[in-house]
Symmetry: C2
């Protein structure tokens, strides 16, 4: 098998036979989970979720970027979610990333300056707090009373709350 995508497509064809839907498009738990793209975070398994229960938003870091805020506004205004749970994790690639070195490498290789900051952070808990605050302060979101932040420990499977 040359391509990982081909393997994923074989898997998907096999799984299609066990399809348990369809489900409604409004998430039944009215909650959105924002977390990192990290391969060790299976949000459905970790939170015991079934299809149709919660929105899942993921980028590098699980950071509350503009794109995540855009998505949350749609999640709340179009699809009736009312709570947000933000989950960063231990052993994250952005934790203490040398962003200057990465940018220099990219410029050297491609001749182009990255048009975005990568979002390196020096302190994990503080990064969670910053994302939680950013969501809580985003006035376009109608529901900001239940916004909480966590660290997921990829070494143990434990989830711990970060006080904001």
């Amino acid at each position: 098998m040359d391509s990982a995508i081909d393997q994923l497509l074989l898997n998907a064809a096999a799984k299609e036979r066990h399809f348990t839907g369809p489900r409604a498009w409004i998430p039944s738990m009215h909650v959105a989970v924002v977390t990192c793209m990290d391969s060790r975070i299976d949000t459905f398994r970790i939170f015991g979720l079934d299809s149709g229960q919660a929105h899942i938003l993921r980028n590098a870091g699980g950071v509350a970027t503009d794109d995540m805020l855009r998505s949350l506004v749609l999640s709340q205004r179009l699809l009736q979610t009312r709570e947000v749970i933000l989950v960063h994790h231990t052993n994250c690639g952005l934790h203490n990333l040398d962003e200057h070195a990465l940018r220099a490498e990219i410029v050297r290789e491609t001749g182009q300056e990255p048009p975005y900051a990568f979002g390196s952070f020096p302190d994990l808990e503080e990064a969670v707090r910053r994302s939680v605050r950013r969501v809580r302060e985003h006035a376009l979101l109608p529901h900001r009373d239940h916004v909480r932040g966590f660290v997921y420990e990829v070494e143990t499977g434990r989830l711990r709350e970060v006080t904001v």
Copy 2:
């Protein structure tokens, strides 16, 4: 139970006892999946993924925004993924969304103009193509030979490829 987050935390505490890690931080299949936040898309189940195999990136629509490109650059340059699979889906909230009406509602309620476009699209397949092209054309990504786009049918569980 007042809060959905409290229920998720109870679930997570129960699941922690069945933790199967730890796993390595480099995704073993060297692939990144970009898809929508939609609650009916359980990427691990659909693609038969296990913890530690693939990066998962999700926003409203599964659109290749700047934030997704930032994440993919980190995925490839820091964490050795080499392929990208983009998955939009049927019955998406952004499909034919009246963005003008949504913006007007937000301005009326909050007095603020949204600082981002929401990304409504009139044609599903064309939206997949646009995201695929955007990834393929992003020069900061070292691996762009295996970038493919799909539509996931939430009514049937079927995944179909979109030719680009």
